[in-house]
């Protein structure tokens, strides 16, 4: 579904990704793990066009998207959940959700259907629909970000550190939401430091080191070697 081939990218003169290649398969959750500075988040930002490639190609459903403008990717069915809090803090919960429907803003019926769907799925958003998003708790903000991403009915979501800054209990709920999305047929490419938790929901794992893939395997295989993988980073 998404293919990254021999990609180089970075910030200014600092190259972070060095000929990185990987694939995210349809209806699967592909997990990216690796030590800090390995290039995991940079890869997601490069796929979404926030960081430009200097070499290599990125294709999605057979179409090259390496040079596509970031704001057009949502129209191709790709969503992005950033690592940091990314709600619009001074817009209401409902305004945030409506912004997620920007790509079909003239279709009032579709917007209403999507809003109703989100309010059914996440009742807390319905309760707080007229409150400013900045006043929500950390977990509620994460739920709002997920819902806002889902408003456009994406077929694939890039997920960067979904549990960052959340309590273990809330993080578990967020993982469950992501797991449900996978069951609904949404493909995901996810970066996560919380390996023990995230690997339970993953299908395939890539280990990144120094801006390239050092190893890959089905998640089931890594689950058994998890301790060795982490120890190898510590040596690194």
């Amino acid at each position: 579904m998404l293919s990254v081939k021999d990609v180089d990218s970075g910030y200014g003169n600092i190259q972070i990704l060095n000929g990185l290649s990987l694939e995210a398969r349809k209806n699967q959750l592909t997990l990216l793990i690796g030590p800090n500075g390995a290039g995991k988040s940079t890869l997601l930002k490069t796929i979404y066009g926030f960081v430009k490639t200097t070499n290599g190609t990125i294709t999605y459903d057979g179409e090259e998207i390496s040079s596509a403008a970031s704001h057009t990717l949502v129209n191709r069915g790709i969503g992005f959940l950033l690592q940091r809090v990314s709600v619009f803090p001074e817009l209401t919960v409902e305004e945030n959700l409506k912004m997620g429907a920007w790509s079909f803003k003239r279709d009032k019926n579709r917007i209403k259907d999507r809003l109703d769907y989100m309010y059914d799925k996440f009742e807390i958003l319905k309760t707080k629909r007229h409150e400013q998003a900045g006043l929500l708790s950390g977990g509620q903000k994460r739920i709002l970000e997920v819902s806002r991403t889902l408003m456009s009915s994406p077929r694939m979501i890039l997920v960067d550190e979904p549990s960052a800054g959340l309590s273990p209990k809330i993080a578990k709920e967020v993982y469950q939401v992501l797991h449900d999305l996978k069951d609904e047929g949404i493909t995901m490419l996810m970066v996560d430091q919380n390996i023990r938790e995230s690997i339970r929901y993953s299908d395939h794992v890539y280990v990144l080191e120094q801006g390239r893939v050092s190893s890959e395997s089905p998640a089931a295989d890594i689950k058994d070697n998890l301790k060795e993988v982490v120890e190898s980073w510590l040596k690194f």
């Binding site: 926030f50 970031s70 704001h71 969503g79 992005f80 990314s86 619009f88 817009l91 912004m99 790509s103």
Partner: protein, 293 residues
């Protein structure tokens, strides 16, 4: 008493029109995070365009104001596309310094262009209306009264766009988180141009409305621009509410200063007010509030 009320009314009228200009400046700052040092020159452009339309072409002054607002909206959008795009394409390292220098350079260019085209002379456009509007306890010049009504209408339209439309919500979203707005599919670059155009058009509207009061000449925008900066700083950078209240406060303080103290220091009163407010409220009147507040 009558003289006092007249000064107070005059202050509110001038404050409303400064508010229009300051709202434009705060809109540009909120969405683009750019301090537009050429804001006063868009004010000047608006005044010249309305002058040309009403005096040289002989059309109605209201038509002059409308044409000035639309023309500067287009000029503003083109300017943003031509000069500020490098900031958002990561083509410059020192983004703030680049924006400061490029808008400052634009300001100098526009002043000199006006000097070349119109000369250094002060021109006097036709007022919006002649005569005096008698309110019983005080009389207001009809021209100024119509000017303030138009200023309030322009501000109302802008506030409606900001608060009640998809475009306005998207602009507020960009002002709060540019990357997130991109992720939901908003073309922040294109909307940034529109925001700059609207901001510049508001300055042009203020210039066109105040042209019959303060006359039209190439450096006419310098003092109003400085006052707009004072307003948005004392009202809190990026706060819409702050820009409006700040402008009204500035207009009233200036007029009362003229009435009670001396007209010679009219422009100094605004800076005194700024210093006093920043001493007691360093973040401005609406400290910490965002552009959409």
């Amino acid at each position: 008493m009558e003289a006092f009320l007249a000064q107070l009314t005059n202050g509110l009228i001038i404050g409303c029109i400064y508010g229009l200009m300051a709202l434009g400046l705060t809109l540009i700052f909120g969405v683009l995070k750019v301090i537009n040092f050429a804001h006063g020159e868009f004010y000047m452009l608006g005044a010249y365009i309305s002058y040309v339309v009403s005096q040289m072409l002989g059309l109605h002054p209201v038509l002059g104001i409308i044409i000035a607002v639309f023309a500067v909206f287009i000029i503003g959008m083109i300017t943003e596309k031509a000069l500020l795009t490098p900031i958002y394409e990561n083509k410059v390292d020192q983004k703030d310094e680049y924006a400061l220098l490029i808008t400052f350079g634009l300001s100098i260019f526009l002043i000199n262009a006006a000097l070349v085209v119109f000369g250094p002379y002060q021109m006097s456009p036709q007022p919006l209306a002649n005569g005096v509007f008698d309110l019983g306890v005080l009389s207001v010049s009809s021209g100024r009264l119509y000017a303030v009504i138009l200023a309030v209408i322009l501000m109302g339209i802008t506030l409606f766009i900001i608060n009640k439309t998809w475009l306005g919500t998207a602009l507020r979203a960009i002002s709060q988180d540019r990357d997130s707005s991109t992720i939901v599919g908003i073309d922040a670059k294109a909307l940034g141009s529109i925001a700059f155009g609207i901001g510049a058009a508001m300055a042009a509207g203020a210039g066109a409305l105040l042209a019959p009061v303060f006359l039209v000449f190439p450096i006419m925008g310098v003092v109003p621009a400085i006052k707009s900066f004072v307003i948005i700083v004392l009202g809190s950078m990026g706060s819409v509410k702050g820009a409006i209240y700040g402008a009204l406060m500035l207009g009233v303080i200036e007029s009362l200063g003229v009435f009670f103290l001396s007209p010679s220091y009219r422009d100094a009163y605004s800076f005194l007010l700024l210093i006093l407010i920043l001493v007691f409220k360093p973040k401005g009147l609406f400290g910490g509030s965002q552009w959409n507040n």
